[in-house]
């Protein structure tokens, strides 16, 4: 579905993403992990077109998307959430989702009220229907994360990029959020690329893991096999000696 081939991105002298290649199959959940500054979010920004790729290519469903603008990438079906939730502060929850419904995909003859109805479906799905008329700035962190998810799903994506969806949530909320992601995959048939720091969650959720360190891919595979790789342990825990 998505093929990333030899992608490199430099910021001045710093190579944030160096020669990374992997691919994603349909209906998979891919976990993207790595220590801080490994280039995970940069890779995500490259996928949604915020940054332009220096070299290499990104193909989505056989179509080159390397040089498309973010809004065009959104139209062909890639949507994302933010690490730090970025709601439209002065708009209500339903307002923000309605914007995504209207603009996410070409929908001919959709009036504002139709879009509002559609948006309320997504809000209901993430459990925020009761808060639809609350301004986004008054929502809690968990609700903001759910609002982000609703907004991302409302653009009717085929590939959903989650950037640390669990950061700052307590275990109960994290479990709820994980269920939400699973049911989103089931109901909307989305493929998910998931950056996560909470290992417990990502080990449970991901079909495959991709590990980055210093902008390079150091391993890829099933969660159990990846976690037994020495280089991954070194990257995360600082070598075998650190454990003692």
């Amino acid at each position: 579905m998505l093929t990333i081939k030899n992608v490199t991105k430099r910021f001045g002298g710093l190579t944030a993403v160096n020669n990374i290649s992997f691919s994603i199959k349909e209906n998979e959940i891919i976990g993207l992990i790595g220590p801080n500054g490994a280039g995970k979010t940069t890779l995500l920004n490259l996928l949604c077109g915020i940054y332009k790729v220096d070299s290499g290519s990104i193909r989505f469903q056989g179509k080159e998307i390397t040089h498309l603008a973010p809004n065009q990438i959104c139209h062909i079906g890639i949507s994302r959430t933010y690490q730090i939730p970025q709601p439209f502060d002065a708009m209500t929850a339903i307002g923000g989702v309605t914007v995504a419904v209207i603009n996410g995909k070409k929908r001919e003859n959709m009036t504002l009220s139709d879009a509002g109805l559609n948006a309320s479906y997504f809000l209901e799905f993430v459990g925020l229907f009761g808060k639809r008329d609350t301004l986004a700035k008054d929502l809690t962190l968990y609700e903001l994360r759910m609002l982000e998810l609703a907004r991302a799903l409302a653009t009717s994506p085929k590939l959903l990029l989650l950037d640390e969806a669990m950061a700052g949530l307590n275990p109960g909320e994290a479990a709820k959020a994980l269920d939400m992601v699973w049911s989103a995959q089931e109901q909307f048939g989305v493929t998910i690329l998931w950056i996560e720091h909470v290992m417990k969650v990502i080990m449970k959720a991901a079909d495959r893991l991709v590990v980055l360190q210093y902008g390079e891919k150091i391993d890829e595979g099933k969660p159990e096999t990846v976690m037994s790789n020495e280089r991954v342990i070194e990257a995360y825990l600082g070598g075998k000696d650190a454990e003692n």
């Binding site: 809004n71 439209f88 708009m91 995504a100 504002l112 879009a115 008329d133 653009t155």
Partner: protein, 347 residues
């Protein structure tokens, strides 16, 4: 028979099967027909006082300038500090074409629209590249540059004196009638702009506009073609402002850049935007009327006017409830109504 009955919050009137009710609290009087009627009947009582009539006409024109300005500020997500640039552009275009080439008012209108369209399209890329304070700075400088041009080429633009003797739109034979007619024209323009702005801001495009004002980058990620929208919301209100310039030229029949292009005119416009209701389109009308009346009243106290006028405006801004301006007094806001947040500095 007719029966009238006073409930706690409303007046009920029954006649046969019909029921009419009138909510007593003024902020629920949201009947646009009522207010439009008031605007239409009002000049008949004051037609004997041409100075008041001119003032009210001016208030209508201020509102007609600030309504597109409010639309522009939300649509591009930036504070425009030079709305009067297109006023000057439209005014000079129609005045010069009328004086030197003999265009009739109808053709000068077309020319004004065309010139404003071209110039605004040429300048619209500044909405893409100018971030933070720079958009405000650039738009601040444009009208001042135009003003300087009118001084430099004063043979053509007649610098400080201004151009005079353009054809009127309509001439009814008596001066008073003309004033009343111009008042109605200005009301028509104002209500037309209000209707257009209202229709835009309460449609799906208005919601998208709000998202651009909130956060451009996120809007872009949600598939909004931000660049296209910003060009539209820069160009379209500019044309509307140009039309006001055309109107001033063909009604007051004198046009000088000194009156409309300097900074104090801009400050008046921005104050109307803030005092009327922070870029909500309806608020511009009470804002414009308030500022015009205040100016007229304070003119009598002489030079201390320069001190008292801003003081009164500051006090008004502070004491108005919830920062929603004059319109907030009248209108009870539903949470779903988007109320724009104006920021001069943006990332």
């Amino acid at each position: 028979m007719v029966s009238i009955e006073l409930k706690r919050d409303r007046l009920l009137m029954r006649w046969k099967q019909q029921k009419y009710e009138w909510i007593i609290e003024p902020r629920y009087w949201r009947n646009p027909i009522l207010w439009s009627l008031l605007l239409l009947v009002f000049p008949l009582f004051i037609s004997g006082y041409p100075n008041i009539l001119t003032m009210v006409t001016m208030a209508n024109l201020y509102a007609a300038i600030t309504i597109p300005l409010a639309l522009q500020m939300t649509g591009t997500g930036r504070m425009n500090f030079g709305p009067q640039f297109y006023l000057g552009l439209g005014g000079y275009t129609s005045a010069l074409l009328n004086l030197h080439l003999g265009f009739t008012p109808f053709f000068t209108l077309l020319a004004t629209i065309l010139i404003c369209l071209i110039i605004a399209l040429l300048l619209s890329p500044i909405t893409w590249i100018a971030k933070g304070l720079y958009f405000s700075l650039i738009t601040l400088i444009l009208p001042l540059a135009l003003l300087d041009l009118t001084y430099i080429f004063s043979d053509l633009f007649k610098g400080e004196v201004g151009l005079m003797g353009m054809d009127p739109i309509i001439s009814l034979g008596r001066v008073t009638w003309n004033y009343v007619a111009y008042y109605y024209f200005s009301v028509f323009l104002m209500l037309l702009f209000l209707l257009v702005a209202e229709k835009i801001s309460h449609s799906r495009f208005g919601l998208t506009m709000a998202s651009i004002n909130e956060n451009e980058d996120v809007a872009l990620m949600m598939g909004v073609n931000v660049n296209k929208y910003k060009v539209f919301y820069y160009v379209f209100p500019s044309i509307l402002t140009g039309i006001i310039g055309w109107f001033i030229v063909h009604t007051f029949r004198t046009f000088a850049g000194v009156t409309y292009l300097p900074l104090d005119f801009m400050i008046k416009m921005l104050i109307i935007v803030m005092i009327g209701g922070r870029a909500s389109v309806y608020g511009m009308i009470p804002g414009a009327y308030f500022v015009c009346f205040l100016e007229e009243i304070l003119r009598s106290i002489g030079t201390s006017n320069y001190f008292v006028f801003p003081l009164v405006l500051i006090i008004t801004l502070v004491i108005l409830p919830r920062g929603e301006g004059l319109y907030g007094l009248y209108h009870k806001r539903h949470p779903r109504d988007y109320f724009p947040v104006m920021r001069v500095r943006r990332e």
